[in-house]
Chain length 165, copies 2
Amino acid sequence: MTTTPSPPPASPPLPGAADDWLRLDRQICFSLNAASRAFNGVYRVVLKDLGLTYPQYLVMLVLWEHGALPVKKLGEHLRLDSGTLSPLLKRLEAAGLVRRERSARDERSVEVRPTDEGVALRQRAVEVPRRILAATGFEADEVRALSTHLRDLTAALDRAAAEGA
Amino acid sequence: MTTTPSPPPASPPLPGAADDWLRLDRQICFSLNAASRAFNGVYRVVLKDLGLTYPQYLVMLVLWEHGALPVKKLGEHLRLDSGTLSPLLKRLEAAGLVRRERSARDERSVEVRPTDEGVALRQRAVEVPRRILAATGFEADEVRALSTHLRDLTAALDRAAAEGA
DNA sequence: GGCCATTTGGTTGTGCACAATTAAGTTGTG
DNA sequence: CACAACTTAATTGTGCACAACCAAATGGCC
């Protein structure tokens, strides 16, 4: 972190450089992890009034933007699989914000549709982004730039994971 | 995604600006969320050989750097509370990587100490940072800069959450 | 001594992430 | 039609995050 750490020599008896690498690694993964959880915490506070959790809010954002969607499409938008979405959607249904119904055309598919109440909730959600942005203390442009960086990072990581390393 | 789905017509007279804000919000929180999970996925692959999960790896990094620590200190380093750490540490203890023992001086405190096996694991962890960095496709400096940005963001968010909004 | 606020971990309950498996429906091919 | 391959959700099991609550130990105070 002070000077450019030299590349780690495979695995010999732990030179000082290894410490630097591990320390750096701790910083990187930790800072991302911590930022994610910190965001989660602020959203938790802001969304409390709406009765939504952070992931539930993400789902509603997609539904507000695209209207009814099958679970599969929803998962593609959010990069979440059915193991995460199924119970989450059931809770949203129990809260009266969405309805889940099997498609008549393809009975494997389940359409998720916001109820009138779910659509109406959007009116109260409009102020959420402003409050979150205010909490970051960043300008909109800064956040947008950071967002772009993170998107690139995610794409690279997904690619690497797909290649098995 | 086949064609561009027309924006949900069932919505009340929201001004276009609100749509933009919600869409932007979706992008920001989504990109951070997705990056965090993508990182998690890559770490999952890389750490599989070591038998560690991502949060367990974070704990071991702190212990390798600082040696034995009480649970409280560990939680401060990682911003995690005992509700998260207790079961995690029990799993690490079951895996033989740490031992938990009540302090003699203050019996409220539990010291977490890496075992010989836990210390030895560090040798095999040395190559992890390089593999992760390679997966990002970023230069070390870029990642460092991003990390700094995220740390600022986290600090601002924590401050905002503490102030109740 | 007795009393009380504080500190420190632990426990419980709710919710999310994801891998692996299962079940049901659809499509293509003979 | 029969049947295999594929698609789509749901289910199950493990692990993490965090709020709320509880129990024990400490230390200061009278």
